[in-house]
Symmetry: C2
Subunit: 108 residues, 2 copies
């Protein structure tokens, strides 16, 4: 297995309009770098994978369960397994680094 | 469980001189933000937890197994379970965001 990577060299995928994602998967966890344009909505969804992440740049409005919060660079979060969560961006868009445990098969 | 956090408000710990770490743990994974001073060596070690991460700022020389590489912001890596890995910083120090899966009990 390869050990070292550069985000800029990893292939990007567009899971929906306005969102580009890059995936680095291990056996037990998966990192996903999301680049989200302004004014994009990611509808509420849930999955058995635990999701935690950090906002690297920009601003995102994240809802986890019944709680919603505006997150900026340096803010972080945990969406437990099977918990509804969704997000939307405002004027700025966002770069977000997420970590899924276990890896999401649908992202491999 | 709380969902939203700010790295700057999380308590810092000093696992060794020149290293400050902040921990956000879930049930399945754990994020750890490391702030490493210049000229610090983290000796080679291994653990059953898979470790993946991204350099956010600065520069770190990371060795995973027999491969060593200088990593800068935007570079990322995977250290598989039970694989020896170590690191050192040069002139600049580094901010590194790591993910452990499962969470490290010794960091909780």
């Amino acid at each position: 297995m390869k050990e070292f990577f550069k985000w800029k060299e990893l292939p990007g995928r567009i899971p929906k309009k306005g969102v580009t994602m890059k995936v680095l998967s291990g056996e037990k966890g998966m990192m996903v770098l999301f680049d989200i344009d302004p004014h994009v909505e990611i509808e509420a969804h849930s999955h058995p994978h635990e999701q935690m992440g950090t906002v690297l740049e920009g601003e995102i409005i994240l809802k986890i369960g019944q709680k919603e919060k505006v997150l900026k660079a340096g803010d972080c979060y945990v969406a437990p397994s099977n918990t509804l969560h969704g997000a939307r961006t405002g004027e700025r868009g966002a770069h977000v680094l997420d970590f899924f445990s276990p890896p999401r098969e649908d992202y491999k």
